[in-house]
Symmetry: C2
Subunit: 232 residues, 2 copies
């Protein structure tokens, strides 16, 4: 959605409402894209194919979606929204559990979420990367949040849990924001794909590895822990 002025099939908010035929096109585009993707794989389908299959011009397609990643994002919109809501619900209902327990579960779920929608998410992330080095210099100047709301939501969730863990003394004080970023980059679709496809790690192994570093800690119970005391 290159810039949706209307609120999800709702009423116009001052601006003109989305034209009915346009709304129909949007649905057709999504349906057609879903089909093509399922058939040939996300990476193999081109924007031109999608436009032609949907019976519209390329310009029309691009008017709605700036690129394939944008389209994929819309395709996953509901799915992702549901995921985040469930995640928040879990955290809320498990409020009495230790923060680290909740964090473990959240990481596990995020991992599976990414894994389940790998192909679409990879496309989303890839196009985001490609955009990045075009905007190069102007990154800081032209707008606050380039990071998409999706990741922001996940970031917030992780930050909240980390903060809670620190406040409750479950872990030592740390840079909550950066650590959340670190977690997200570890669960990045591209990293995950690479680790599974090229390095042969199972999802369980990855989950265990993350758990060990971010939850258990490198100094597990029983380690001698001479760290930071440097002896020449």
């Amino acid at each position: 959605m290159v810039h949706d002025p209307i609120v999800e099939d709702g009423i116009a908010s001052g601006a003109r409402r989305e034209r009915r035929d346009a709304a129909a096109h949007r649905q057709r585009i999504l349906a057609v894209a879903r089909d093509l993707f399922a058939h040939a794989g996300v990476a193999a389908v081109t924007m031109h194919q999608i436009a032609r299959a949907a019976g519209i011009g390329q310009g029309t397609l691009y008017r709605r979606y700036a690129n394939k990643g944008d389209l994929c994002r819309d395709l996953m919109h509901e799915h992702h929204e549901r995921f985040i809501i469930e995640l928040r619900a879990y955290v809320a209902e498990a409020y009495s559990a230790p923060a680290l327990t909740k964090l473990t579960e959240v990481i596990e779920r995020m991992l599976h979420f990414v894994n389940d929608s790998m192909a679409l998410l990879e496309t989303v992330v890839t196009t985001a990367i490609l955009d990045m080095d075009c905007n190069e210099g102007s990154a800081l100047t032209d707008g606050p949040p380039m990071r998409h709301e999706w990741f922001q939501a996940q970031q917030n969730l992780l930050e909240g849990l980390l903060r809670e863990a620190v406040a409750d003394g479950e872990i030592a004080p740390l840079d909550v924001a950066y650590t959340a970023d670190l977690l997200l980059s570890a669960m990045n679709p591209l990293s995950l794909h690479y680790q599974q496809a090229e390095r042969g790690y199972s999802l369980e192994r990855i989950a265990a590895g993350l758990r060990h570093i971010f939850i258990t800690g490198v100094h597990g119970p029983g380690a001698t822990n001479p760290a930071t005391a440097q002896q020449g």
Copy 2:
């Protein structure tokens, strides 16, 4: 280097030697590319431009370099090689220091290395990503090490230090291979760029964050550490 059959301007190893004019072209290509990159930024320069500026055909350029990332890799070859050698030298000469101390230093240096050659490395990584989703299904079938030797060298270094740290009881036993991967993905040029440009983290902050997670551990000295003991 799409597949260099000869040994770095040395003698032919059974196969024919690289033709002299070809060798000259290679130098010219590298020089021209370096210039153009310095002038306009790596991302903005096209392969066509490079070919034209070097006075050769596009086919000739592509014969030597499969893509821009490949070219960038060659451009950084010596630099990177020197870096790895220095790193190995450091580790060797500090052999009596605790493994975690060495790991800290190595991480710090890798971070700076990536940071110093960001633009080129980003291109290398980006093209690697793009290749990835073309080869899709055949990832596991067609060859053992898609990961480039560069990363393999870094991976080995990190694995060695982690193994040493475990053996010496500095940290609890862990999945050494995956943890090294995790570290590398945290120091990935793209992640690093994003974290600096979009999130505004300084390199020092990133280094500190990594140190805290991977060296100090989430349970720093003084943390109560009730972890893993879940109290529903």
